[in-house]
């Protein structure tokens, strides 16, 4: 029933008038004067694509553009085009293959496949441009209508949606050879631009401002009794930025950075250890019932014991203060990572392992190709928690032991009544902690492109 009408619309041969009429239906050529339109129609060669034919692939050289006369074609932009809508069905009156006209690209941005038997007009882009050289006014109008159409339909980054301008052919040609690095930069700029245009940064700023204002007003303006001894916003900032800080610590003093670096180093080591051991243990606990039965009860018994309770034993065992701090920092991260990893393995639908085994994977291959990647989303959730927890525990550990680090700063400043320094330590800790967990998240997104894209499809 679907194959018997494969001949419809084929072979009659469109004459010049019919081609011109079709062009008139398209967005870019709608307003072209009749005489010019007829000459464009003469450039247009009619072709028929049986269903399933690929017209062109992403990355191919782009020489021609196409107008659809009948049938339909699926037009799928590659992800690098950064369009808001990647896949589109085009039909009579639509124009595809406009990459041939873009000022920065001469490669196909999309892959197009005929969904049904489809009749098209092929127009050579170079010939079209040559034609417009003699009628620059119409040419520029058509090109700008192209740009509008592209932007309306696909929301491409501006630098991609720009068509050549006819008047300055030479300029356009040199523009077409923008080096890759430059277009990357443009892409980055484009994304940054989008971010700035979105409500996100403003909400973020509003959030911070609200907290800071509350702080400022409660301490310095209203002088609420409860906040009597609390250092004010202005005082802290002045101290923080002072070249000659009253309490000895500011962005201008080298110790400030020593503390930060020492803390980062400790967290880094502890986090790496926790990740290596936690992910391994978690994977095996999830994968093997035997391992789980051995380990999990012990694990669950130790997990609720708070870090501070471990301090005496840790000091006895490790003696060396640095190792003690690292051990204490490690512990909670390790629990978070191991537990999340195990839950991640549990979360994997059994049919994936079954599918892998009936495709011939052995036990180890199932582990490698199903268990590990399947648990990855949970692992990274765990790692984000774990890095936060590491900072958390670090402060506790540094309060007990060691002579540097942000936790140490906070603790000693308290005993020595340097209140603004406490707040400086806290804010720095927060900022560094935020950065590290953002880095973990970025790494996760980088490793799990499939997930990023899947979520993007869900409109997130």
């Amino acid at each position: 029933m679907t194959t018997d009408n494969s001949k419809t619309g084929v072979g009659q041969g469109l004459d010049q008038a019919a081609k011109a009429a079709l062009l008139r239906e398209t967005m870019p050529f709608k307003t072209v004067p009749d005489a010019t339109l007829r000459r464009i129609a003469d450039l247009a060669k009619e072709e028929t694509l049986p269903a399933g034919t690929r017209l062109y692939n992403e990355g191919d050289r782009a020489d021609d553009l196409f107008v659809i006369a009948s049938g339909k074609i699926e037009h799928a932009l590659g992800p690098e085009a950064e369009a808001s809508k990647l896949v589109k069905m085009v039909k009579r009156g639509d124009v595809i293959g406009w990459a041939a006209l873009l000022s920065t690209k001469q490669r196909r941005l999309a892959t197009t496949v005929a969904e049904a038997d489809t009749q098209i007009l092929r127009i050579n882009a170079q010939k079209l441009r040559d034609l417009f050289q003699n009628d620059q006014q119409t040419g520029d109008m058509v090109m700008s209508r192209f740009a509008t159409m592209i932007k309306e339909d696909y929301t491409l980054p501006d630098w991609l949606a720009k068509t050549r301008s006819i008047g300055e052919g030479t300029v356009a040609r040199s523009e077409a050879e923008v080096p890759v690095s430059e277009s990357r930069l443009a892409l980055l700029g484009y994304r940054l631009g989008l971010w700035v245009k979105s409500p996100k940064p403003y909400l973020m700023i509003t959030g911070f401002t609200a907290v800071l204002l509350f702080w400022h007003f409660s301490v310095d303006v209203f002088e609420w009794p409860r906040f009597r001894n609390m250092p004010g916003l202005v005082e802290v900032i002045t101290e923080w930025l002072s070249r000659d800080p009253i309490y000895g610590l500011s962005v201008w003093t080298p110790e400030y950075y020593t503390h930060i670096i020492v803390s980062i180093r400790r967290v880094f080591i502890a986090f790496l250890l926790a990740t290596a051991l936690g992910v391994t243990l978690g994977l095996f606990m999830g994968w093997s019932k035997g391992v789980r039965e051995f380990v999990f009860p012990v694990f669950e018994t130790l997990r609720p014991v708070p870090i501070l309770a471990w301090v005496p034993l840790a000091i006895i065992i490790f003696f060396h203060p640095e190792s003690t701090v690292i051990f204490l920092t490690f512990l909670a991260s390790f629990y978070a990572t191991a537990l999340n990893t195990m839950l991640g393995v549990d979360s994997i639908d059994e049919s994936y392992s079954r599918a892998a085994s009936c495709l011939g994977a052995n036990k180890w291959q199932v582990f490698r190709h199903v268990i590990v990647p399947g648990a990855l989303p949970f692992i990274f959730t765990g790692l984000q928690i774990s890095v936060g927890v590491a900072w958390f525990s670090l402060v506790a550990a540094e309060m007990v032991s060691g002579e540097f680090g942000l936790g140490f700063v906070i603790n000693t400043s308290y005993t020595m009544v340097k209140y603004p320094t406490i707040v400086i330590g806290m804010i720095t800790l927060g900022a560094v902690g935020y950065t590290t967990s953002a880095m973990v998240r970025m790494l996760g997104d980088h490793l799990m492109q499939w997930r990023v894209r899947e979520l993007a499809m869900g409109g997130r």
């Binding site: 679907t2 496949v113 079954r354 599918a355 190709h369 499939w450 894209r453 899947e454």
Partner: protein
């Protein structure tokens, strides 16, 4: 009867030389010690090589259990199952080894979301060490292109529609050159329009590679449209209640759906299935 004699002999009536499944007196009892649930009871079924065998039956009657036993996902309690005369599971070997000669397409789909469609399709031969990565990708590419899936190669399964996902999954199965395709309600979640496209594409694939298809469904129209035979199962524990020969010649297209013969077969199936569904319902009432 020997295993050797059955292999590489004459093509079956469907023109295939491998993929004959024999299920003999199979029982499956879940949890034999405790509250024993008998899911399959003395089930015997002979599927010739290259047949499209459609299995219908009330919900929870044990169809998936039977399919899983053939696939090797769990054991059987007694009886035996052979593939081309070779024992898959039976006395002394309660559970079959899962293998790429019997590939399953799952009800909810099981393309690995973390691999691109192409990587999914190429997965089988690569893990089996049958092909180099390069060869596997080449073959995967050409199979996908043949199936009209070329443009989804580089997408992840999460980015394509569920209909396309099913097609990719079937290509992934065919990539291994299986003797049998085991499909467990693969199109259940699809809308009827997509479903009809799927049916045509499945038949097209089948006409190209004559594999045996063991296809579980709840959709009687689907069962009759696709199948050479429709096996109607009893309510739990399941065993074939009635086997219907669908005497509408292949290749079929959608005109078959409107033929009188199709309607007659539908009525016949409907009666048998309805009877079992009522039994299952009443059994459920008693239990509840």
């Amino acid at each position: 009867m020997s295993a050797v004699m059955n292999r590489n002999t004459q093509p079956s009536k469907y023109g295939a030389t491998r993929g004959a499944i024999q299920i003999k007196n199979v029982d499956k009892i879940y949890d034999p010690e405790g509250a024993a649930v008998k899911a399959v009871d003395n089930c015997t079924l002979d599927i010739p090589a290259g047949e499209i065998c459609m299995v219908v039956g009330p919900s929870g009657c044990g169809k998936t259990t039977l399919l899983n036993a053939i696939a090797g996902f769990h054991s059987i309690t007694s009886g035996e199952i052979t593939l081309d005369g070779e024992l898959l599971c039976g006395p002394g070997k309660p559970q079959a080894e899962p293998g790429s000669d019997r590939v399953v397409v799952f009800q909810n789909g099981a393309l690995f979301p973390w691999k691109t469609n192409l990587e999914n399709v190429a997965f089988g031969p690569i893990v089996q060490g049958k092909m180099s990565k390069k060869e596997a990708y080449e073959k995967a590419r050409s199979l996908m292109a043949d199936a009209g899936l070329g443009r989804s190669e580089r997408n992840y399964p999460g980015e394509i529609s569920s209909g396309v996902r099913r097609r990719v999954e079937i290509v992934r199965a065919l990539m291994n050159d299986p003797a049998v395709l085991l499909l467990d309600e693969p199109y259940r979640a699809l809308d009827s329009l997509t479903k009809s496209v799927m049916h045509e594409s499945l038949l097209e694939t089948y006409y190209k590679n004559k594999v045996t298809i063991f296809f579980i469904t709840h959709d009687l129209e689907e069962a009759i449209f696709l199948g050479h035979r429709v096996v109607i199962m009893t309510s739990r524990p399941c065993r074939p209640k009635k086997i219907l020969e669908v005497d509408i010649p292949h290749p079929r297209d959608y005109n078959a759906l409107t033929s009188t013969r199709f309607r007659e077969l539908m009525d016949e199936t409907m009666d048998a299935v309805h009877e079992e569904a009522v039994k299952a319902f009443e059994a459920g009432e008693k239990e509840g």
